[in-house]
Symmetry: C2
Subunit: 392 residues, 2 copies
């Protein structure tokens, strides 16, 4: 196991009605003037935003508002948020929404207290300082409610990039599974796929002898495989929603990813799909993961065979690890299709003729197109092109 | 799933040499004058205490010292520590040792800033305020390095009782698996048994549909069952030590116990054994758990059958859940014996003629002997007596 530090000081308020604690929690963590950041439609229609506002008012906390976050959140709104926070003297950002809203909030939080362009953080500068962020989560998916990560898309060039740093861990996150009961099945499944990807990408490690975190990851994937079909069949299954919500947080707060190398290849490749086609990130991952895993399988058949047998119930064939491994990847893809996810470019709405562009953007690097993906394996543009071809 | 709050803001520095970060971390969390609290022998002989002192000196942090913590830590030393902290103006307690040292440190931390008798907290008063505590862990066992709990034994009457509260979460914990390589096999196995108990006692819940935490608990038990024999066979197996150390923390920081009722029956009953005989807590648990589980099995055979089949590989017999359940408890006991743990009163050094006294102290309550244990089931003195008899 590798040396590591782990620090996840997010306060979680979990359960029915937890959103009514928003004001109390902002106060607990020192906020006096809040930016309420959200998407639109559903958080307003459902009355959630009003309940959060009431909770802030009850504690005498002032707020400004910025709605309009879209899936695959854009840098334009971040710049707008930074300006608003500075103008209004905001000292706390409260995200009401899903991963996109939370990621946009984090970017605003870092940008507000930074002299340069916030995009620097998304080109690799570690985030060491940011306004405190709280969240009221409305979809189990990104895990951003408990993670130090954020992903933003820059309009010029449609670059979708991630930033990380301890300052990006939310101070608190309100997790009420009821708030996710109104999600359409497709979005629920996209969220579940994202959670499963966060687990697989931690599982695919080159670090040896990491049994404890291996087992934890397998456990969380098994819980997702059991619980997701229940909410697809019955959107109001509170307990299943709750299981998924906690699994989604645990999948990405990194307690199951410490001390081991990780593999963010599928996320990096998928980002090109959702950036170009504005498809749901989870749907993109459903198409990307099986292709990446099949392409990388020979790098360590035993690892893929282990998850195949432990999670997917594939009989372990020690004399044919590759066969066992592939059967596990097939089972993953079959499961993703069973919850309504796409399985190829056509179902996703992606186009074969864009592959050269996609591979080029993914391996943009310093502009030469010679950038590489460093994960479970090292992939160059030719590899990425091959992987995209496997998705057609 | 039940509503809950979860807040675990402990910073973990994990890996080889991590103890050299003690000074840096005390400073990070605001300590200026430290009480170094420890047991004796091994932390001195190994040079660990000196390395920690060097690290404090390098940051210009002053310290007082209090050694002498014994397993099943006593109230007498806690009173001594409180007096010393007040006299010396200590503002941070640094525990160098195992669960006993950490628990003693937490009691001193709370007592120093409390007007009354610190024992109040161990009779049920929640701990809301305490000096900050840091830890340098030397045995994977109690989980106190990441938990809000502490257990102390009061000399008068030999009452062993627990206290809890958010203020008891350490600010940081240094986890260097190398420090545990010199532990004798017996102590290593006692630690592993304690960890497994923390997991089982969270598993035995009356809350329905808690698949995610069920799976997490099973995962951690499986990791313990795989890794413990490796360190018994080879004490210097760093990776296995590391897996156990992280599992021990995860087992008790409660991320796998949220939103569900828990069952601390085995711990409560065992406390009487280690209080009276001063046996190792883990050894006491090895004798206690199988008896408690067999006694309580009929309360929910399906739950015991589930863990039997998922963790212990017992074939699930839907027509004989009780048989499946019992085979799982047998497998647990067989495993504990295989790592050198005792299986009955004789092997533990406990005496049948003390059972009346043990049951009475356990159910002492308000002094009438009518106290009850509220866990997976509700047990009175008669039940506790029966359970002790099953251990003979």
């Amino acid at each position: 196991m590798n040396n590591f530090s782990f620090y996840a000081p997010t306060y979680f308020a979990f359960g029915r009605g937890a959103e009514n604690r928003a004001g109390e929690l902002v106060k607990k963590f020192g906020g006096t003037k809040v930016l309420l950041h959200y998407g639109g439609g559903s958080v307003i229609r459902s009355g959630l935003l009003d309940r959060v506002k009431d909770s802030l008012k009850a504690e005498g906390i002032a707020y400004a508002e910025l709605g309009g976050v879209k899936p695959n959140p854009r840098s334009g709104l971040v710049y707008e948020g930074i300006e608003l926070c500075r103008k209004e003297g905001v000292d706390f950002i409260l995200a009401v929404g899903g991963g996109s809203t939370i990621d946009s909030s984090k970017a605003i939080a870092a940008g507000t207290v930074y002299d340069g362009d916030f995009w620097d953080f998304y080109e690799g500068k570690p985030v060491t300082k940011a306004l405190p962020v709280g969240t009221v989560l409305t979809i189990a998916a990104a895990g951003s409610e408990g993670s130090p990560d954020s992903v933003i898309t820059k309009e010029e060039g449609m670059f979708k990039r991630g930033a990380s740093g301890p300052a990006y861990r939310p101070k608190f996150s309100i997790l009420n599974p009821e708030l996710t009961c109104t999600l359409p099945a497709y979005q629920t499944a996209c969220g579940a796929t994202d959670i499963i990807a966060h687990l697989y990408e931690r599982y695919l490690t080159n670090t040896k002898n990491v049994q404890t975190t291996d087992r934890m990851i397998e456990a969380l994937i098994m819980a997702m495989v059991e619980e997701t079909p229940k909410v697809i069949a019955d959107p109001n299954n509170y307990d299943a929603r709750a299981n998924i919500m906690w699994a989604g947080m645990m999948a990405h707060n990194n307690s199951c990813g410490v001390g081991r190398s990780q593999d963010w290849t599928s996320h990096q490749i998928e980002h090109e799909l959702s950036a170009l086609y504005d498809c749901a990130h989870g749907a993109g991952l459903a198409v990307t993961m099986p292709a990446v895993f099949r392409y990388n399988m020979k790098h360590d058949p035993a690892r893929f065979a282990q998850i195949a047998s432990r999670v997917w119930g594939v009989p372990m064939n020690e004399n044919d690890l590759e066969g066992t491994a592939l059967a596990g990847i097939d089972a993953l893809q079959k499961f993703l299709c069973s919850i309504g996810m796409p399985k190829n470019f056509a179902e996703l709405g992606a186009k074969e003729e864009d592959i050269e562009y996609l591979a080029n953007t993914c391996c943009y690097g310093d502009g030469s197109g010679n950038g590489k993906i460093y994960g479970f394996t090292v992939l160059d543009k030719e590899d990425v092109r091959n992987i995209f071809r496997m998705m057609v």
